[in-house]
C-alpha cells in the first residue's frame, strides 16, 4: 500500500455526521439559556411537566419559546423516561 493509499484509508475513517447533528451541537450555547429556564420549571412545577410531556411544542409556544428542532430535541432528551 502506498503512503497515499494509507492516508486515503485514514480519511475514510472519519466520515461526516449528518449536517443536522452538527448544527444542533453548534446551537447549544444559544438554546442553553432557554433550556435552563424551562428545565428548572419542569423540575419545580409538576403541572408544567405534564403539559410538556403531553404536547411539548404547544407548551413551548404558550411560553413564548420557539420550538425549533434543536430546542425540542434537547428537551425531549431531558424529559425522556
Amino acid at each position: 500500500m502506498t503512503p497515499e493509499e494509507q492516508i486515503a484509508e485514514l480519511m475514510r475513517e472519519l466520515p461526516a455526521p449528518p449536517v443536522g447533528w452538527i448544527e444542533a451541537a453548534k446551537e447549544l450555547p444559544t438554546v442553553r439559556r432557554e433550556l435552563d429556564t424551562i428545565l428548572e420549571r419542569i423540575e419545580r412545577d409538576e403541572r408544567f411537566r405534564e403539559l410538556v410531556v403531553a404536547d411539548l411544542e404547544a407548551t413551548l409556544r404558550a411560553e413564548g419559546v420557539e420550538p425549533t428542532p434543536v430546542v425540542v430535541a434537547h428537551l425531549r432528551r431531558h424529559i425522556a423516561p
Binding site: 502506498t2 485514514l10 475514510r12 475513517e13 455526521p17 453548534k26 450555547p29 432528551r77
Partner: protein, 189 residues
C-alpha cells in the same frame, strides 16, 4: 476551519465566544461520530443521542478541563462514557460482535485519522474540498465534476496531486517521489 490550537479554542469558548464553539464542534464532530458509531457501533438514533450528549457535556464541563491542549483525549473519554450510557439506556442485548473488544485500538486509529484531517485543513480550499468529497463523502467523479464544475477527466489527476500535497503536509521535508496514487483513484468512476 479555525486554525487556532485546541487550547486557544477552549479559552475562547470559556469566554463565551460562539464562533470558537462552532469551530470546536466542526473540528471534533467527525471524531465523536466515529467513536459512537464505529467504535461502539451505536445505531442511528442512539448514535445521535450520544453525539449530542457528548457536546452537551463538553459545553457544560469545559471549565473543568485543566489543560486545554488535552481537549482531544478528554473528548474521547467523554464520548466513550456517553456511548456506554447509550448502550445501557437502549436496554437491548448487545451481541458479542458489537461490543468493542479493543476500544483503545479503535481510538488510536481514529487519532491517526484526526491527524490526517488536521493536515487536510491546512491544504488549499480546493484540495480540501476535492479530497473530502472523494474520500470522506464517497462522491463519484461525476458528482464531484458536476458540483465543482470540473471536467471529469481532470478529477483523478487533481485528487492524486492533492493527495501528494497532503502526504507532504503530514511529512514535512519529505522529498517528492514519483507515486502510483493515480492507480488507486482510478478505481471509482
Amino acid at each position: 476551519m479555525d486554525a487556532a490550537s485546541d487550547a486557544e479554542l477552549v479559552a475562547r469558548c470559556r469566554a463565551g465566544d460562539q464562533a470558537a464553539w462552532e469551530a470546536l464542534v466542526d473540528r471534533y464532530s467527525r471524531y465523536v461520530h466515529a467513536i459512537v458509531s464505529r467504535v461502539y457501533h451505536l445505531e442511528s438514533h442512539d448514535a445521535e443521542d450520544a453525539f449530542q450528549d457528548v457536546f452537551t457535556r463538553v459545553f457544560e464541563r469545559l471549565d473543568t478541563l485543566r489543560d486545554g491542549s488535552a481537549l482531544r483525549p478528554w473528548i474521547a473519554q467523554t464520548a466513550r462514557n456517553c456511548a456506554v450510557d447509550a448502550l445501557r439506556r437502549s436496554g437491548r442485548e448487545v451481541p458479542v460482535g458489537e461490543v468493542p473488544d479493543a476500544p483503545d485500538e479503535g481510538l488510536a486509529r481514529l487519532d491517526e485519522a484526526m491527524t490526517v484531517h488536521a493536515a487536510l485543513d491546512r491544504l488549499s480550499p480546493d484540495c480540501h474540498e476535492i479530497l473530502d468529497r472523494f474520500f470522506c463523502r464517497d462522491e463519484s467523479y461525476r458528482t464531484i465534476g458536476s458540483e465543482l464544475e470540473l471536467p471529469a477527466g481532470t478529477i483523478a489527476s487533481r485528487i492524486a496531486r492533492c493527495l501528494t500535497r497532503l502526504r507532504d503536509a503530514l511529512e514535512p521535508g519529505r522529498k517528492q517521489q514519483a507515486t502510483t496514487s493515480g492507480e488507486k483513484v482510478e478505481e471509482r468512476r
